[in-house]
Symmetry: C2
Subunit: 96 residues, 2 copies
C-alpha cells in the first residue's frame, strides 16, 4: 500500500457477495478519485468480478482500471504450525 | 492478445491442478522469454497462483511479472439462451 493512501478508499474482499463489494466500490468512487480492491487466495476471482462489474455496469465510461498488481503473502498456516503462502491481488480503479 | 504473439507461449488455465500449469509455464520459460497465462471466471485465482509459484519457487530471481490485465468477455450462457459476462485475466511473465 503506498504511503499516504486513504484507508477509506480500500476494499478488502472477503466472504460477502460480489454485489455487496460492488456497492462499496461505487460509494467510494462517488467520493474519491480512486478505489483500491485487495484480495487473497480464492477471493482473487471475486476481486476481479467486483472491479469489472463496477467499471462496466455501475460506473460505465466513468472509471478505468488504473493498475493491477499480483504478489504473495506469508500467513500462519491453518494448523498453527509454520506458515503458508497465499497469492494476492491489488486492483486500482480510477475516475477518468 | 497482441499481434504476432507466439501461440506456444500461451497457457489457458482450466481444470487441471495448479502444479501441472506451473510445469507448463516453467517449460515455456526455458524456451521463450515470455509466458502469457490466461484465465476466466473462477480459474482467475488459479492463474495468479500459477504465476506466483512459477516466479517465486521454480524460477526464483529469473522471471518477473511483466504485465497483468483484467477484462470481461461475453460467453453463451449455460442454458443456451443469450450470453453471460465473465471476468478474465491475462498475466505475462518475463525473463529478467
Amino acid at each position: 500500500m503506498s504511503e499516504g493512501e486513504n484507508q477509506e478508499s480500500v476494499i478488502f474482499i472477503g466472504r460477502k457477495s460480489t454485489i455487496s463489494y460492488v456497492l462499496v466500490a461505487v460509494t467510494i468512487l462517488n467520493k474519491n478519485d480512486t478505489c483500491n480492491i485487495q484480495a487473497r487466495g480464492r477471493q482473487i476471482s471475486k476481486a476481479v468480478d467486483v472491479a469489472e462489474i463496477t467499471r462496466r455496469k455501475f460506473l460505465a465510461d466513468q472509471v478505468v482500471v488504473d493498475n493491477v498488481t499480483i504478489s504473495s503473502e506469508e500467513l500462519p498456516s491453518d494448523n498453527g504450525e509454520g506458515t503458508k503462502t497465499v497469492s494476492t491481488i491489488e486492483i486500482t480503479l480510477k475516475k477518468k
